[in-house]
């Protein structure tokens, strides 16, 4: 419909619609921008700062520099990156290999394997049995408890199976006629064709592992192995000031303890979001497409 044909009432309607959505945008983004403003303000000026503002009072990177120099935070960044990277690789490789087998129609025992996977989706016995399995396997307090535990996600597996099933049969048969074995077909034909799907589930795993805190919290007693999410939780949710400020500096009232706690918390929250923001364009591209096409196919 050409714009010129719009009646005044239609224009008012449209304005209401757009303003409603923009209000939604503000409600979504403002709390994050407020934290950014607090974390970038001069620490002395933070007390009394309104929760509504998105403009820093003065400009200072002191909060960020204190945080980034803090050993617990540095340790947390390292742990998060390490756990996320290794889990994602293991998850994607395990999922892709299993999905490839399960996508072949003639595979003996295929139905049984599907049921094996399905049962895990509908029935989860809970966190205590999980904990005891970890304990029995000697994984408690090891990075591997977080990395290996439930490394292959049933939902992502199903998404990938569906994708592999749509690879034209003729292509696979032609490769098999040329004498390629299943490993070669997988490596040279299936993986290159499945790049978008693999990118999608890689992002699923990446986001999932970066955001994971519960398992790390219950399986890792050793604070030196804590990912950023658990450090953040201890500091912001449990209000454990010593965690970040440090016992020494808290009692002497020096270093980090001179900075308003509110700005340290704000900085810590944002620090944990930074990687998500960094890959957000990719997330938008692949998650959106995956969800749209999945829903359409349904």
């Amino acid at each position: 419909m050409a714009l010129s044909r719009k009646t005044p009432i239609e224009r008012i309607e449209y304005a209401i619609i757009v303003s409603t959505l923009l209000l939604l945008v503000v409600v979504t983004v403002q709390p994050i921008l407020n934290l950014l403003a607090v974390s970038l303000s001069e620490p002395a000026k933070v007390p009394g700062m309104s929760g509504l503002t998105i403009i820093p009072r003065g400009l200072s990177f002191e909060v960020w520099s204190v945080l980034l120099q803090h050993p617990n935070v540095q340790r947390g960044i390292f742990n998060s990156i390490f756990i996320t990277a290794v889990s994602t690789v293991i998850g994607v490789v395990g999922t892709a290999l299993m999905a490839w087998g399960l996508s072949r129609p003639g595979l003996p025992g295929r139905k049984a394997l599907f049921i094996l996977v399905l049962v895990t989706i509908v029935f989860e016995p809970g966190i205590i049995p999980d904990y005891f399995v970890n304990k029995r396997l000697g994984l408690l307090d090891s990075y591997w408890s977080v990395i290996l535990f439930k490394a292959v996600n049933a939902w992502y597996l199903i998404i990938l199976i569906r994708f592999f099933e749509e690879i034209p049969k003729e292509l696979l048969e032609a490769a098999e006629l040329d004498g390629a074995n299943p490993f070669q077909v997988f490596w040279h034909l299936v993986l290159p064709l499945a790049k978008p799907a693999l990118a999608t589930i890689s992002l699923f795993y990446l986001v999932f592992h970066w955001n994971e805190f519960f398992r790390a919290m219950i399986y890792l007693n050793d604070q030196g192995k804590w990912p950023l999410q658990v450090v953040l939780r201890q500091f912001v949710i449990d209000g454990d000031k010593v965690a970040i400020v440090g016992a020494n500096s808290a009692s002497n009232n020096t270093g980090a303890s001179q900075i308003d706690l509110r700005s340290l918390k704000a900085g810590m929250i944002l620090l944990t979001i930074v990687p998500i923001l960094a890959i957000y364009p990719l997330i938008l591209k692949f998650f959106t497409k995956g969800t749209m096409s999945g829903a359409l196919k349904g």
Binding site: E10, E13, Y14, V18, L21, L24, V25, T28, V29, G48, S50, G51, L97, M98, W100, R104, P105, G106, L107, P108, L116, V117, V122, F123, E124, P125, G126, I127, I128, P129, Y131, F132, V133, V152, W155, I158, R162, N181, P182, F204, N211, E212, F213, F214, V230, R233, V236, I237, K265, I269, I276, Y280, I283, L284, F287, T288, T291, M292, A295, K297
Partner: protein
């Protein structure tokens, strides 16, 4: 509501072919031939299958401690349903179960319509870049962890310098400490859930709207329908199957009031109002060390939850053609 979007994305399994005429041949010979052809696939699937067996099926075996008395020196003693009797006679457990159902019901009533409305509004936005901008902003919270979201809301709801109380102050309303207010905390759960996922969930409905045949809109236009009439008579009927599917799937997940959300937004003051089955299991199990009782509570929830999901799956399949898997 953790796996809601994946649940909808996840397509159904393909048709599993029935065994064919080969049945007449010797079974052993068939198996041998099959194995020669298929073993490489099993080698490739081995890590995945092992992960499932070890990390999903071993816990089911470990869950037997719900029926045992844990002893420091093994073996444990079999005590049958004793822990379940203790559980069912504990008022705390019933309170926790009630909380779970109340929170799920509140989310269902107040969350579910929001993404539908957002999708309908978004569909009306004509400018491509304006629409992209709005989408990029409102999808973001879905990708943040509950630790982060709780941190954001503890700040935003602070009685002294939180945005909400600052706004209320401007309107002359006395400040309120929402996070420690037993009357408000369940609404905090509902609202944070909306803040986190209403935007992202609207994508599912938007996909359904886009799939509606454009000719229907053209026909409505020729009949002189205005914007609201088109929404009422074309768009809404077009997404009813999606709404029904998501409603039923959510009903199936009714006992999952979201551990990660509650555990991060809870505190000693409001615990009694939002303690759900999952946080109860965590607290009495891993914090107090009553492993058997906690496992019994977890199993109770798991069995009931499985029944609900399976029922939801078949109801949804029957009514809308889409299921959980």
């Amino acid at each position: 509501m953790t796996n809601r979007d994946e649940a909808v994305m996840a397509p159904k399994f393909g048709n599993v072919p029935k065994s064919s005429a080969r049945r007449k041949q010797g079974r052993v010979a068939v198996a041998a031939e099959g194995w020669r052809r298929w073993w490489p696939y099993y080698v490739m699937m081995a890590p995945g299958i092992l992960f499932f067996l070890i990390f999903h099926y071993l816990p089911i075996w470990e869950a037997r401690i719900a029926f045992e008395q844990v002893r420091i020196v093994p073996p444990n003693i079999w005590v049958g349903i004793k822990h379940f009797q203790v559980l069912f006679s504990s008022p705390v457990f019933w309170q926790v179960l009630a909380n779970t159902l109340i929170i799920s019901a509140m989310k269902m009533v107040f969350f579910l319509p929001v993404p539908i409305i957002v999708a309908l509004l978004l569909n009306e936005v004509r400018g491509g870049s304006l629409r992209k901008f709005i989408q990029s902003a409102i999808y973001l919270p879905h990708f943040l962890s509950w630790v982060v979201i709780a941190g954001i809301f503890i700040a935003a709801l602070s009685p002294t310098d939180g945005a909400v109380n600052n706004l209320m102050g401007m309107a002359g309303i006395a400040p309120r400490s929402f996070m420690t207010d037993t009357g408000a905390i369940r609404w905090v759960l509902v609202f944070t859930e909306i803040w986190r996922s209403a935007g992202w969930d609207s994508l599912l409905y938007l996909a359904a709207i886009i799939a509606i045949d454009q000719q229907l809109y053209d026909a409505a236009e020729i009949d002189g329908a205005n914007r609201w009439q088109k929404i009422r008579h074309v768009t809404l009927p077009g997404i009813v199957p999606t709404i029904a599917t998501l409603f039923i799937l959510n009903a199936g997940m009714f006992l999952n009031a979201d551990l990660n959300q509650v555990i991060n937004l809870s505190n000693d003051v409001v615990r009694s109002k939002i303690d759900i089955v999952d946080t109860y299991v965590y607290r009495i199990g891993l914090q107090t060390g009553e492993y058997s009782l906690a496992t019994a509570a977890g199993l109770f929830k798991a069995v009931l939850g499985t029944m609900m999901i399976v029922i939801a799956h078949f109801v949804s399949k029957r009514l809308t053609g889409k299921g959980v898997w």
